[in-house]
Amino acid sequence: MTTQNIDLATLDEAAVQAQSEILAQLLREARPTLDVSPGTVIRQLVVNSSALFTELNENNLARLRSANSLLTATETPDTADASVVDQILSNHLVTRRAAKSSAGRVVIVLSQAITTPMSSSQKFTSLDGTVSFTVTDSFIGVTSVESVSSTGDRLITSRPGGLFGFVVDVVADVPGAAGDVRRGTRFVPAPRLAAFVDAYAESDFTQGVGQESTPELLARMELGIAAKAVSDRVSTVSLLQQNFPALQDVSLIGFGDSEMFRDRTNLFGESTGGKVDVYVRTRGTPLVTHAVKSAVLVSKSLKLWRLNFTRDEFPGMYRVESVLPKDSLAVGSFEVVSDTRSLDTSAIPGEFIPRIVSAAGGNYTRYQTAAVTFRDTLTDTTELFEGLSRQDYDIAVSTMPDLAELQTFVASRDRRAPGTDYAVRAAIPCFVSCGLVVYYRREYGVPDVEVIRDRVTDTVNAIKFSEPRLSVSLIVNTVHSVIGQNGYVDLPVDLRGALLLPGGSTVAVADTDALVIPEYPELGVSRRTVAFFLSREQVSIDLRPVTQWQT
């Protein structure tokens, strides 16, 4: 138990001296014939030594009292004993979130189709050496379907350019967000593989988290003490966070809120209550998932193809980020010409379906369906048939993960308040981009632009529901937390946002002072339902040395 201190050197000398005086006085009163004044053997060897350990014990008692006090721990979270805080909060069923390692799939590109064994200790390290991953099991890349006999056997397929490839599962060696690499991040294998050409992340890796710190844990304390039931907002949030540890933010819209439109779908257009919209943010930035999906030709002349998404495919998806020919190594995307959202509220066995009557009302819920039409300029459609011809494409789709699971959870019969229906929605996204010009003083070295980029994205993605604006000052302060006084951010900062409204339209917002969320209550859009998302790729940083520092 770390509460105990046994290091005598940490004791305060004045306090030890005071203890010595107290013990000497006590001994003097108890044994008047003993000389306990300074300089005597009794004082030097017996009383002073006893005073040392008396003071040590007093210190440890004070530490224990402090650590056992929720009030003290809350006031000084950084110095509170972690193990004791865990014990205190366990009484309220609040447990510290364990660290979690990022996981994902790595595509291994080979120059030849040869059987490629891989032991369970095979590692893949990013090119900059900052993050490493280990395969989750031993794998073998096999060259024929007949050779696939277990989950560890991965079929090597042909790839463009006369290359070959197969996919393995990996997990980060160190828990935390550092392992959240994006699709396309390249790796170096260790040990090296035969015929190795390249290795890269197939999709964004799932979000790793560091172990919850004591201040973060104490911040959740109120939620822990709350009744874990879908009743008031605090209790509902507590219940959700307990069962979905990755949940970052929750906003409940209910009776009387301007954003609540589901309870006004009646003859009189009056709010009747009984409905709750649960807006959630389960990730700092939307998860971009890559998959292969079949599209149907809808127009030969215009070369238009359509991807149809059921409600179970990428539930509540934000948008299709890219569409490319299957196995293409190209970057970019075919042009998406339309994105139409609909609704599927047909029965799901064992689940209560919330009342949603419009397509826009179902946007970003698990009941959303979508039809995304794009123009494939490469495929010759001459011999194809509209409505019949199909072709596979590599797509990338952005979503808030766990949406369907959250909906099932809150709507379950045992958990749902009998008089209420709940609709879980992904936070309405405002995709942000930011352009910075940062000046630095040469004599202090060039600032680490990647650190600045990481800090800025973390800061923006940490903005909670109900914050009405993303201020430029917040970004400037964040940059200065990296560069200190050794530089400055040139103003104005280029700050832009694209707000994807339910219903499909996009509202562009831009300002040099702050991005302020516009309110569209009839669509449920407000600061209580919108989240800012800033990905690293959308942060542009131009570093410039200062030619003359004015003093």
Binding site: E13, V16, D35, S37, V41, I42, N48
Partner: protein, 148 residues
């Protein structure tokens, strides 16, 4: 009359009074009082390096520190540092609460009677006088890095 544990062996009113430290097996459990206690306290004070006792930053003298750091090399050095240490001991006694030390334990004068200095060896003969008029002479064998 108050008592202290006897830790300085060989302390006698007169004669060869070379002292040593320890809880002697022969006379274990003895206590001292009076001039003998005063002499014991003087020895403890004089031979404790000031600042070496946790919680008592001013207890001791600089004599042993000077000896350990090689600053005592000549007869003059011995006399100078002894006088300084003796002054510190007397100041300590003056700082004790009035009436806390009986006259036969209150040291009022400290004199270096004679000393023998040779490489690696220093012997001090010290005379202690109390407020009651009693005297004690002690021989302090200080063996250390003298003159190195």
């Amino acid at each position: 009359m108050t008592r202290d544990i006897s830790i300085v062996q060989g302390l006698r009113p007169a004669g060869d009074t070379r002292v040593s430290f320890g809880f002697s097996a022969d006379v274990g459990g003895q206590v001292v009082t009076g001039p003998q206690k005063a002499a014991q306290r003087f020895i403890l004070l004089f031979m404790t390096e000031v600042g070496s006792v946790f919680g008592q930053p001013t207890f001791g003298t600089e004599f042993m520190s000077a000896l350990h750091t090689g600053q005592i090399r000549t007869d003059v050095d011995v006399e100078l540092y002894f006088m300084s240490a003796a002054a510190d001991v007397l100041a300590f006694y003056r700082g004790l609460p009035d009436g806390s030390v009986p006259p036969d334990e209150m040291i009022t004068a400290i004199n270096l009677v004679e000393f023998a200095l040779s490489p690696g060896y220093l012997l001090l003969r010290v005379s202690l006088t109390t407020a009651a008029g009693a005297s004690r002479e002690v021989l302090l064998p200080v063996t250390d890095t003298v003159g190195v």
